[in-house]
Amino acid sequence: MLTSTNPVNGAKSWLAQARKLGRCAGRRASVLVGKLRPRQAGQFSGDPTFDAISLLSDVDNCQAGLLDFGKETDAEFTELARGLSELSTRFNSIREQAESLDNLLHQRDKENILATAYTVYKSSVDLVHSSMGIAISEQQQMGQVELALTHACRVRETFTRNNLLLRIITMSIRMEASRVDPENQSIFLNVAAAIAEIDGKIEKTTAAAFGRIEQVIEEARHEREALHGLEQSLQGRAQQSIDKLQQELADYKTSLIPCAELSCKVGELFAQTGPITLQIITSLQYQDIVRQQLEHVAAGFEDISKHLGGLDQSCESTSKPELGFIHHAACVQQAHLASSRTDIEKAGAEVSKGIGDLLAIGGQLIENFTEMEKAAQAAFGRSRISELFKHEIHQLTLIADQSEKANSKISRLVERIDEVVRVFSHEISSHEFEVKIVSLNAQIAAARMSAANALNKLAEESSLASAANAAATADLTGELQSCLGKLQGIKNDADEFMRIVTREKSELETNAARVSAQLAGLGSQIGDRSSAVRREFTSVHQAQNELLGRLRFGELIETSYEPAALICEKLRKATRTFALPEDLSKEGQRKLAAHQSRYTLERENELHANALGNQARPATGSFAGMSAGDIDLFDSVTPVTLPEAPPSAAEEFPPQSASPIPLPPTTTQPPAAKEDLGDGIELF
């Protein structure tokens, strides 16, 4: 309807309407001509509307392809994540096994086998030390007792002299008897006979007693020498056993040195797995980001598709703005496709390379671990260590047995000396008493006789001899008692020592048996556990290699991105005459701005990076610290800052800040909680 109140304005309005109608008619004609003109595939007819509409079905196909790409790569990346998790679990097993070996090497193992073995060795040395020391000490004390007994035997001369004296007195009394009256002779002869009889008893008793003492001395000397010989022999053997054990333990340590070196290498390799695993986890997360990007691109394609579908509905009011929107929207999608392709290619390459690197490290780990295990088995599995340990410790405990033997000898000596003391203190004392009685009776008889001075004198002499014997007996008894006391002291000490050493010997033998069994079992234990770990790792290694071999995401990129990018390019070229900003209606600008703001992902990336940074842990692993095994793929957050989003690849669509398209202000969104990494972004 062409109506106007102002003629000038009315003319302008009419002119504009005419131009519009003309242009529309021209376009229609072009479409018609284009449709009629035969064209090669990919060539444009020259009518932007027609050319754009002709791409409609391709746009729809690409939209579906992009959504499929997200699903299919998701499946592959999930499988990779599972594989990585499995790999980490196996690394963990190797690490635990290697740590267990390392602990054994550095005596940090639970049972502390090597340290216990050394303690048992040390205890055996202590046992030898104390047993031999006590034995030598006892021998020395026994020697002193022997000396004392020998010294005591010198009293025997006194007894001999007194016996001789009594014999002379007896003879003198008999001689005197011949001089006295016949009726008194019998008194003299009776006294002489009584003294002679007692003298005989004394002589017999002292001979027996001193004979026993000499026998005891001889026996003690003999036993002491035998003990000394035994002690010397045992000392020699003990020293040999100690040397053997010491050498064996030293060899043990030496044979474990290669294990320790390999353990360090294993530790270094584990340290390398940490950062690689973290990088893989980070890269794996990009699949999810890219999937969302592609969903948004697909949404953009849907918009384009709708616009293309509506192009021929009304050319009166929408043809120019719609084509302008399609041009700019195609540019936006093209830029985002290029950006996300860079992301997914980089992520895919990093994941593949990372897992490949982990597998390579795993191979080296297994190699080093196997060597370590062999060295440990060789060290622990030496057939003689366990048996030798048990045998030598047993030999050493025999040293303690000599204390028992020495103790029994001392006990016997104590009994013998006690018997000698009893003889002297009872029998000789009784004989002395008899001599005194006889002497007294003789003196009484002499007092009754007129000429018995001689008898009186002789009776006095015999009484003196008896007193001398009594004194000698007292001395001897005293000395013997002293020896007995010493021997009793030695025996008490020996008993006390025996009590201690028997318990220690028993503990030592029990510990030696336990350590020997542990040492004997170590080799096979290590072998069994390591074989299982190696078998499991080999299986995972193979599975991961196969997974890497069948990865298709490279192919998926080609089949999804290429057609989509090509369609964008075609749409852009087909509508290049509508590239100016004024070709966009306000509605078109609004829609396009929504497309752009939807695709930036800056906020998500920022939140993602912050979340990772907040929970970051040191990236370098170590054998004692963190390693791949510490990383729980599905629970923890990795300490890696994401790479910045790649720059837009759009050649005709400058970055947002420089965009000629007026964009509505971005709605300020409330800060997300720390765990919220943005819609659809999730950490493993």
Binding site: K122, L127, S131, G133, Q140, Q239
Partner: protein
Amino acid sequence: MQTNPQTTTAPATAKTVLVVDDFASVRFYHANLLRQAGYSSLDARDGSEAFEKLRQQRVDLILLDMIMPKMSGEEFIRRLRNMPEFVRIPLLVITSESIGDKIRQFAGEGPLGFALKPVVPSTLLEAVRKLLA
């Protein structure tokens, strides 16, 4: 196990030796030998018990084992030599292996002697006599 106190008695003027060893039979042997030689002796099962004894009674010499539970011989020596009141107490270290050079590195300047187990009584007493001279 403590050795029998009766075995540790000696004349009042006798020098007192503290025997520190975790092995009861070794403590018994050393105490017994020292008593026979006229010394008075105390004993302790480890380093911490030894310090208790040192605080209770004057000690002229310490006979020390190196490998003991709770407080090792090395730790005992380090602490002992850092205490001014005990820094000059002579130490006779009786070990199962030759580690004299290692011990010298941390034993400070106090009188120090070594004996390698098993050590015979005469050698042990000679070492004690020299350190107490």
